[in-house]
């Protein structure tokens, strides 16, 4: 018999309605309760807290900064969960590039339910509660194999529930199905069209495809939600502003909302506010830590992003230290209806160059 996710108590409150202080008063006891829960139900978690945070005492009321955290990379090497095997209803895996190990995240019914409910609250804040015609900027094959929930497939399936008649705008070879997309738009009378895709897919499959074909398409009715790593765009020296700008030039798309999240923290989803900063809803929060001392840094100072969430009961993922660098840009902005803390992701910590003895051998390259 599984416990209720503490986040379920927050579902009646609008996700961005609480000023930071009021939010913390609600959130902190839930994070503490989750820490205590996982200490009891996940022996590996208890072992880590004892070994790494020996002074942490769940009985004493700790601040959010004092709560133990786990590095996200740990889920790549270990199956950490706080439920018996027969309670596992879904295992999420991270995308990860070829050759990398992927994280395995175990969900039970309760965690999956609350995660889905939270996602509904968050998305409805931006698109309202009616289901919109939806264009998915990916190929249909990405969700065909429903037994393997890749991060990309799971993300698309998660968002697809907010649209109806989803149209996959890319062909199997990832080329843009422009005639199909135009037809779909012509047939739809809705004043708003929802678009969703992973950032690089939107860039490559839509923006670059239209640019190189010298075509444009009218998506001025569109509301684009996109997510995913910025690495490939950074490599092409494309900033967030340039991304939106060039998207606007070929599609007339004005409403673009990025979000940040990771499979290791289900439901920990951070949508952009109107200032294009990522905004923490009432279910979750972030702390920025110095990458070397691991101490929290003041707002405005870049560091490692730690994510906190009141959702996960099935695995100890309520407090995770990511490998992303970020900076807190502000709290309770007076001009924003969205209250609470907001931040910016600056990029990924570079991969350690393996300098063991054995790296004089470079990959075999046949020179002809």
């Amino acid at each position: 018999m599984s416990i209720l996710s503490p986040a379920s108590e927050l579902l009646e409150i609008a996700p961005y309605s609480l000023p930071q202080q009021a939010k913390e008063r609600l959130l902190l006891p839930k994070l503490r309760a989750l820490t205590a829960h996982h200490l009891v139900h996940c022996p590996d978690y208890a072992r880590l807290v004892k070994g790494v945070f020996p002074h942490f005492n769940p009985e004493v009321s700790a601040s959010a900064e004092d709560l133990p955290f786990l590095p996200v990379s740990l889920f790549k090497e270990h199956d950490l969960k706080s439920i018996p095997d027969d309670e596992v209803v879904k295992i999420l895996t991270s995308s990860g590039t070829t050759g990398q190990r992927t994280s395995r995240i175990h969900l039970n019914h309760e965690t999956a339910r609350v995660q889905a409910a939270v996602l509904v609250k968050l998305v409805q804040h931006f698109i309202g509660s009616s289901r919109l015609p939806m264009v998915i900027l990916d190929h249909p094959g990405v969700v065909k194999d429903r037994t393997s929930f890749s991060a990309r497939g799971a993300g698309i399936l998660g968002m697809a529930q907010f649209g109806h008649r989803p149209f996959y705008a890319l062909n199997d070879d990832l080329s843009l199905n422009l005639p199909g997309l135009k037809r779909y738009l012509d047939e739809s009378k809705s004043p708003t069209i929802l678009l969703f895709g992973f950032t690089f897919m939107v860039w490559q499959g839509l923006v670059r495809a239209l640019e190189s074909a010298g075509e444009t398409i009218d998506l001025s009715r569109g509301l684009l939600v996109h997510s995913g790593g910025w690495k490939k765009l950074q490599d092409q020296a494309v900033s967030h502003e340039q991304f939106r700008q060039r998207l606007r030039e070929v599609t007339r798309l004005e409403q673009v909302i990025n979000f940040y999240g990771m499979v290791e923290q289900v439901g920990g989803v951070y949508f952009e506010n109107p200032l294009h900063y990522l905004h923490a809803p009432i279910y979750s929060d972030i702390i920025i830590r110095d990458p070397r001392t691991l101490k929290p840094v003041p707002d405005g100072t870049p560091g490692l992003i730690q994510v906190l969430s009141a959702i996960p009961t099935s695995y100890p993922g309520h407090s995770l230290l990511t490998e992303d660098l970020g900076v807190i840009r502000g709290v309770d902005h007076p001009d924003l209806a969205m209250k609470g803390r907001y931040f910016e992701v600056l990029g990924r910590v570079p991969k350690a160059e393996l300098r063991g003895c054995s790296d004089t051998v470079e990959p075999k390259q046949k020179v002809t």
Binding site: D44, R47, L48, K50, G51, V52, P54, L70, P71, S73, L74, E77, H78, D290, P291, R292, T293, L294, L304, L321, E323, V349, P350, K351, A352, E353, R355, G356, C357, S358, D359, T360, V361, E362, P363, K364, Q365, V367
Partner: protein, 417 residues
């Protein structure tokens, strides 16, 4: 078919000569006979000493302590020490005549940026012609060393005619040409490089010395640390800093595990003292852990805490320490970047069960000579071939992994009447 023309064309397209500037093209260099130099000839000592002088004066070289160390090692007084010990070698066995091996092909590692220069200098001192293969990406400090070599060679013809520092992508064909050319092949760079080079046929007359991946330790007597006056503790911490943080703790001889020998109470107090002192040395020297490695070592510590009975200390920015409490087998993987595992032992004999043939150096502090002499026979045929004072982990020694690099680079002619 003229094979030399064929070789010269692919060498010039695939191999880049990094130093010296000028001199014969590589294909002609390969065909010229080696100098008939004597081991430890004065002109060679002078040429290396001139390189040392140039390095010592170069402010860009001086910025990097590892470069200063190699410059210092190449100074005239140190080279003359080798000459003196060679005289002792001759004196001990007058019926043996030593000549250079001839041609030496070095494959340098990329985890210890300066090692290629030590390897080259010994072989060159012994009177050999050399080809030194460096990896494709040279950090700025290696480029500065090569630049200094080229400048020195402008006024030292023997440097120019007898040596080539080259780079090329891993390429068996090219390594094959150099391996056929040489009389002795020295392969640094650990297991993967050794395995890759072993596949490349070596001139049947040539010998080979290869250096596999190694793992190293520190061993500290807790009571000796507790007995230190503050300035001496600071000095010990500075010595420890060099061992741990040069080359991002990725050299074969960089300590990965520190054994604390003594009572539980002593080792707890002593390790705290030394690690805190180490942190202040790091602060004073402005050491900042590499960002990527800071993340890697954190993951490694959490991971180890799940695999072994351990406590992790994240309170110092210079290094993450993991105290291992159980008797699980010790992983010999290297993380680097300030990641130190610690093991408490009642006596130094406790290390014996943890050693294997991949082990190389133990830097020690606080032990009597007699205790170390008693300990060493227990290593048996397993690893560890250096027991040296703390602070000297990365000091280059011509006896490496238990092999004498100088004698390797010479040929012995036995004379019996």
């Amino acid at each position: 078919m003229d094979t030399s023309i064929e070789i010269s064309s692919f060498l010039s397209t695939r191999v880049k000569v990094l130093a010296p500037f000028g001199g014969l093209p590589l294909s002609s260099f390969l065909q010229s006979p080696p100098d008939s130099a004597e081991p430890f000839a004065d002109d060679r000592i002078e040429a290396i000493a001139a390189l040392s002088d140039r390095l010592m004066k170069d402010p860009s070289i001086r910025k990097d302590p590892a470069n200063v160390a190699v410059a210092f090692w190449l100074r005239r007084a140190n080279l003359n020490r080798f000459k003196t010990s060679h005289k002792a070698r001759i004196h001990a066995a007058p019926e043996v005549v030593w000549t250079p091996a001839g041609r030496v092909f070095h494959v340098a590692p990329s985890n210890v940026d300066t090692l290629f220069l030590y390897s080259w200098a010994l072989a060159y001192l012994c009177g050999n012609a050399n080809i030194v293969r460096l990896s494709k990406q040279q950090p700025a400090q290696v480029q500065a060393l090569l630049e200094a070599f080229s400048r020195t060679a402008e006024s030292a013809p023997c440097l120019l005619t007898q040596n080539r520092f080259v780079t090329y992508e891993h390429d068996e064909e090219i390594s094959g040409v150099f391996s056929a050319w040489c009389d002795h092949r020295i392969v640094w760079g650990g297991n993967a490089t050794v395995e890759a080079l072993r596949k490349v046929p070596l001139n049947p007359h040539a010998s080979e010395r290869s250096f596999a991946s190694k793992f190293s330790y520190s061993m500290v007597k807790a009571a000796a640390v507790l007995a230190l006056a503050p300035p001496d503790l600071h000095q010990l911490a500075s010595a420890c800093f060099n061992d741990l943080f040069w080359f991002d703790q990725a050299a074969c001889s960089s300590p990965q595990v520190m054994f604390w020998v003594g009572s539980t109470a002593d080792t707890e107090a002593a390790s705290r003292l030394l690690l805190d002192a180490l942190q202040s040395v790091a602060d004073r020297r402005g050491y900042v852990a590499d960002l990527a490695l800071a993340s890697t070592r954190l993951s490694a510590a959490f991971d180890l805490c799940l695999r072994s009975e351990a406590t992790v200390d994240l309170s110092r920015s210079a290094l993450v320490t993991v105290q291992l409490l159980g008797n699980e087998s010790l992983s010999k993987e290297i993380c680097g970047g300030g990641y130190l595992r610690m093991i408490h032992l009642e006596t130094s004999l406790g290390i014996l069960s943890l050693l294997d043939r991949g082990d190389q150096t133990i830097t020690h502090f606080g032990f009597e000579r007699s205790e170390l002499l008693q300990l060493a026979p227990g290593f048996g045929s397993r690893g560890v071939d250096r027991l040296i004072p703390l602070g000297e982990a990365l000091a280059f020694d011509p006896i490496w992994d238990g092999f004498d690099l100088v004698e390797d680079c010479m040929r012995r002619i036995s004379i019996r009447i």
